[in-house]
Amino acid sequence: MDAMAEIRQTFFEECAEQLADLEAGLLAIENGEADSDTVNAVFRAVHSIKGGAGAFCLDDLVHFAHVFETTLDEMRSGRLDTSDKVIKIMLRSSDALADLVTVAREGGTADAERNATLIDELKGLVALAKGEEPPAPSAGAAAPAADGPTYDDGMGDLDFTPVAVDLSDLMGVGGDNTFKIEFKPNPRMYAKANDAIRVLRDLYELGEVKVTCNTGEVPLLTAIDPEGAYLSFSVELSTAESESKVREVFEFVEFDCDLSVEEVAPEMGEMDLDGVDPDIADILSRIKASDDDEAPSAGSDEPEEEEEVEEAEPEAPVAKAEPEPVAEATKAPPAPAKPAAPAPTPAPSAAKGEAQDAKGASGSPAQTIRVDLERVDRLIDLVGELVIHQVMLSQRAYQAGLARASDVAVGFDELEQLTREIQDSVMAIRAQPVKSVFQRLPRLVREVADISGKQVRLVTEGEWTEVDKTVIERLADPLTHMIRNAIDHGLEKPEKRLEVGKAEEGVVRVAAMHRSGRIVIEISDDGAGINRKKVKEIASDKGLIPADANLSDEEIDNLIFMPGFSTASEISSLSGRGVGMDVVKRSIQALGGRVSISSKPGKGSTFTMSLPLTLAVLDGMIVSVGDQTVVVPLTAIIETLQPKSSEVKSFGGDARLIQVRDAFLPLVDVARELGYSYEPSNATGGVAILVEAENGARSALLVDAIQGQRQVVIKSLEANYGRVPGIAAATILGDGRVALILDVDAVVATSRVEGNFFNQAAE
């Protein structure tokens, strides 16, 4: 990637961070929790985005950011107060800014109308802060018109010129101009490391120059202040350039000197130079040569001309010297007792190296390092391999007859400990707090609340709960849908809420926590809860449950997850992004997770989602199926049992049921489902593993035997081979064999009968 493209990527990454800070800051201000630091940080976030956007010529973004920044400037200087109304505009602007960044990054079109409206509102706020009349709303889509450096939005000093325009180039430059320049530097000028010589040299570049140095004010050497300014210069300049170009030379120093620039008629004769040699170095070396030449005229105690001493350097008019040694020069002839300038600087790499160390040692703000994700992924892969090989090595050693009590065996145990620790540490590198997902929620809540006409407050907890990066990325979608559901279906409209004695504003609470080795996320709302009667009706109408089915409250609640429960016409459109709960459940299950809902009528509902902490390893039960070894994810397993012949019933064809306490569950012949055998497996000689699938329905997997329980490293089958139905992934066991990891839900689904409703059928 070339340098610019890399920096562009950095820019967009940084934008994302700035936008997050911006929103968080605005929310803090809204909650009354902000201090001046927050307000400044919010300003800086937009300021930074504007700066970078300008460098990449993202004009729309620059324009919006500029207006936003100006408004924030009024806010941080206290001229605009932070009322709710104002913050709401800011938050909407923050959303719009985020969209513009997205458009800049990925293409597409921004909502020009919305942006134009926001810009007008922001300008209105600025005018308010300044006590002025708000400007007339910009005609039509203002945003697209923002191209080009001379956009005039009618706000006078808010004109923003992204590209500097050199006006002097536009002025007619004709023929030779002659200027008479008087230039007397103040001590201040030198204190800022500006240098008369350089300024004069710049004049030389403009044309023909005659310079006279006036030394009249230079005091005796003993009275000289090293940091003083005694010299002045009279310059006659003959140039094709304009006056503004000439003044430009003095741009940096014009306030730290006495300057006059006059254009004079060209036929004016040569300036009277009073016989002093115009070559400054010459003058000064003559001054150096004899102390007695100077007559103190102004008699001031002004310190010595720093430049004079500097120029006294042995023939090095080009070299810049440090000013410190000047102090020594009052006592002795200006010996080159200086560090640095003429002498070659010590190896730049050493200086750089020191500075780099300094950066680390001086407690620099960053306690983190940025690492390529690819490297971390590769490291995790390698560690996975390490674990596999370590297990294999131990097993082979024992098989070869290694004594369990031997030193080598102890070594293997320690090796296993160490390897597990490495694995845990490495997994932790990729573990991230869910905060990054939670950060998108406020905006989502704002938008959904707007569209559905509800008032919602979002409360989040446990944002620092950590989970593997791979899981985090796939959390966002299900979380989004559940929150949409909570706001759209769960919460009542404000009027309705008031009627039933609730506050107008509904609360959606999202909490993340660790529980028994998994991450649990709860989404609760204080809405109306699930209308169980209605849900049961819908399910029954759609044939998902028998009309007279006897279901517990909890079972009714979870009916919403059934495939086919919500059809397109029922899903409220929410800008056409409605999704059924069954899709949500499936995507969570694809992550190895579970989701369920519980509800209290009138009080609210809670979605509970549990996910594994990582997608890279799996706790599994190793089982034999046919002559193969298969891994069943432990999270799916409820219990295992050895079927007795009395418990196994036949049910049409080869289908079998197994009685477990009071329920009859379908017995899934795994060997047959996976194609390992064509004959029904012997039920009584095998093991039945009770598992819970999609709709909470339970089944029993029939396998031959259980070999053990282990944590295995997940290897993707899809990436290395292809998608195999019924198989989720693969792993390598300790003895080097490849074992396939079962996709429990898929296997159960392909077997024909569903469990729950055979309570009745079997009776």
């Binding site: 340098a3 610019m4 920096i7 950095t10 820019f11 990454e13 940084e14 630091d37 940080a41 300003f43 800086r44 300021h47 930074s48 504007k50 700066g51 970078g52 300008g54 460098a55 010529c57 000093d157 923003f160 010129t161 992204p162 500097a164 030198y190 204190a191 800022k192 490391a193 500006n194 350089r198 741009e251 940096f252 306030f255 730290d256 080009v318 070299a319 810049k320 440090e322 000013p323 410190e324 640095a340 300038a341 070659p344 600087t345 010590p346 730049p348 050493a350 200086a351 750089k352 020191e354 500075a355 780099q356 160390d357 300094a358 950066k359 040692a361 001086s362 407690g363 620099s364 703000p365």
Partner: protein, 123 residues
């Protein structure tokens, strides 16, 4: 013998852009992330930088405060300091001058202008 530039900006993007521009013109670049960090880095450099380029709006210590502190320090006070600013208004420039800035560069910066400005203020 290349010149060393100390760049101070809280924006990662800007730091990288400055580094890319300056390094390709043969300068050695040392970076800091805000005014406070800038002071620390400056003090720890064995050889002082030839030019300092600093942003204005930064957390902890802003550009103005940084410049004032440098100008008031016992040593390292006469290093040329250029201020990076998107502000086009005279007031900010005046403030920069008063704080002791040697000059300013407007951002988004034209790489050539940046190098020119550096060459103008450095020896």
């Amino acid at each position: 013998m290349s010149r060393t530039i100390l760049t101070i900006d809280d924006s990662r993007t800007m730091r990288e852009m400055l580094k890319a521009t300056l390094a390709s013109s043969g300068f050695t670049v040392v970076q800091a992330e805000d005014g406070q960090h800038g002071i620390e880095v400056l003090q720890s450099m064995g050889q002082e930088p030839d030019v300092i380029i600093t942003d204005i709006n930064m957390p902890r210590k802003d550009g103005f405060q940084f410049i004032e502190e440098v100008r008031a320090s016992a040593d390292r006070r006469a290093i040329p300091i250029l201020v990076l600013t998107t502000e086009s208004d005279a007031e900010k420039k005046q403030r920069a001058r008063l704080a002791g800035a040697t000059g300013w560069i407007v951002k988004p910066f034209d790489p050539r202008k940046l190098v020119d400005a550096i060459n103008r203020v450095a020896a």
